[in-house]
């Protein structure tokens, strides 16, 4: 983003300790370039959970994404996946580190709207950090959730992506401190 771009705040969703999914809806279609920031944990006694995103809440296997995560004391986790969602980051249970453990990320989205100037598949990338089940802070960092809602896998063409649904795959709820914020760039 060029310095001086005017970034518009689209909206924020926040956990409440009971919701397993959070949805940012009514995403404007007059831009194709968005920024998402987030920090999250989930309500669970012991396990971390993957935070995943779906476009227009489509739960079909129409997403392909990659990861490159550097873990503390371990080799990078590198992979490519075709799933019914795109994984952004594993978030820790709220019992970890006396409830202070979090994961966080910075993500970019492109081509959410079907403007003729950029007809590619809706796509995203995320730079992540945080914790999973381990006791230390920041056991990993890297890129994850870098992928697309793929037309060749059946993602509908000619349809704007106007909602992003974030879900914890382990079934727990977002803590009240979990916050996801979407910004829009004024131009594509």
């Amino acid at each position: 983003m060029a310095v001086g771009d005017q970034l518009q705040f689209v909206g924020e969703v926040q956990g409440d300790g009971s919701a397993n999914s959070l949805t940012i809806s009514d995403i404007p279609t007059d831009s194709q370039s968005f920024i998402l920031t987030g920090i999250a944990a989930h309500v669970h006694s012991s396990y971390s959970s993957d935070l995943v995103v779906r476009f227009n809440n489509d739960s079909n296997t129409r997403y392909r994404w990659t990861q490159y995560l550097s873990s503390w004391g371990g080799n990078p986790a590198v992979g490519q996946y075709q799933t019914s969602y795109i994984t952004i980051v594993a978030v820790p249970p709220n019992t970890l580190n006396s409830g202070k453990a979090r994961s966080w990320f910075y993500a970019e989205f492109w081509n959410l709207s079907q403007k003729s100037t950029s007809p590619g598949s809706p796509s995203m990338m995320a730079e992540v950090g945080g914790k999973n089940n381990t006791t230390g802070d920041t056991p990993y960092s890297g890129m994850q959730g870098c992928g697309s809602y793929v037309y060749s896998d059946g993602a509908p063409t000619g349809t704007d992506v106007t909602s992003l649904t974030f879900t914890l795959t382990a079934g727990g709820a977002f803590t009240a401190e979990s916050k996801l914020r979407l910004y829009k760039r004024p131009t594509s």
């Binding site: 990320f105 802070d137 960092s141």
Partner: protein, 225 residues
């Protein structure tokens, strides 16, 4: 009834309104008027323009760090962009390091990776006295940039944390002068508090001051909830 509207003016409805049959209305907002009453209904959200430069510091070559103080607590997220100037006089690379709230204790944990000479390298620190958010800057020919984001920095409930990405060329010459690109993340392990000040500097690596012309700009994004 509230006052502050005028009668007999030509008006145009804003948004969905019942059909009208006359060009005159009994209640019209005037310029610079301040509302005293609001509708009981749900108002649409204000479309905010929020990527605000809070402050910029330009290094003159004589200092190794700078502290942004009194950071407004009104934004949702912070972004720090550090652009290092070219340097032909430095004998060592230098990092972009960050401390928060003037804390120099062993309270910083971070991890980084970068691509270098066709391979990846990663490492980190725990119990450190600062985060390393950008690695091995110091090109003699090219300026480089480090972009750091801190989500929910003004919260007293969430751990101060960051992600960053950066590109750089080391001061090495010849076959060692590979470009690098990388990223990092980190969290704060001290007492959780809102981030009100932020220090950016080399902080002990390379014993270097930032070259003259290096800039650090702090931006605010969004609105704190």
């Amino acid at each position: 009834m509230p006052t502050g509207y005028e009668s007999g003016k030509t008006w145009s409805p804003i948004g969905a309104q019942p059909a009208v049959s006359t060009s005159a209305a009994s209640r019209v907002w005037t310029m610079n008027e301040v509302a005293s009453y609001v509708s009981a209904g749900t108002w649409p959200p204000v479309l905010e323009f929020v990527f605000d430069p809070i402050a910029t510091h330009t290094f003159d070559g004589s200092t190794a760090s700078y502290t942004f103080t009194s950071i407004p607590q009104t934004y949702a997220d912070l972004r720090l962009i550090t652009k290092t100037a070219v340097s032909g006089s430095h004998s060592n690379d230098y990092h972009v390091a960050v401390q928060i709230n003037g804390d120099t204790g062993s309270n910083y944990r971070y991890y980084y990776s970068y691509i270098y000479s066709y391979s990846t390298q990663s490492s980190g620190g725990s119990g450190a006295s600062r985060w390393l958010v950008g690695m091995n800057f110091g090109s003699t020919t090219l300026p480089y940039t480090c972009i750091m984001d801190m989500p929910d920095y003004s919260s007293s409930d969430n751990v101060p944390a960051f992600t960053s990405r950066y590109g750089q060329t080391s001061l090495d010459t010849g076959t060692n002068a590979y470009n690098r690109t990388g990223w990092a993340s980190g969290s704060f392990e001290g007492t959780i508090a809102a981030v009100t000040s932020l220090t950016v500097g080399t902080m002990g690596y390379g014993s270097s001051n930032y070259p003259n012309g290096t800039t650090a700009t702090l931006y605010g994004m969004g609105t704190a909830s």
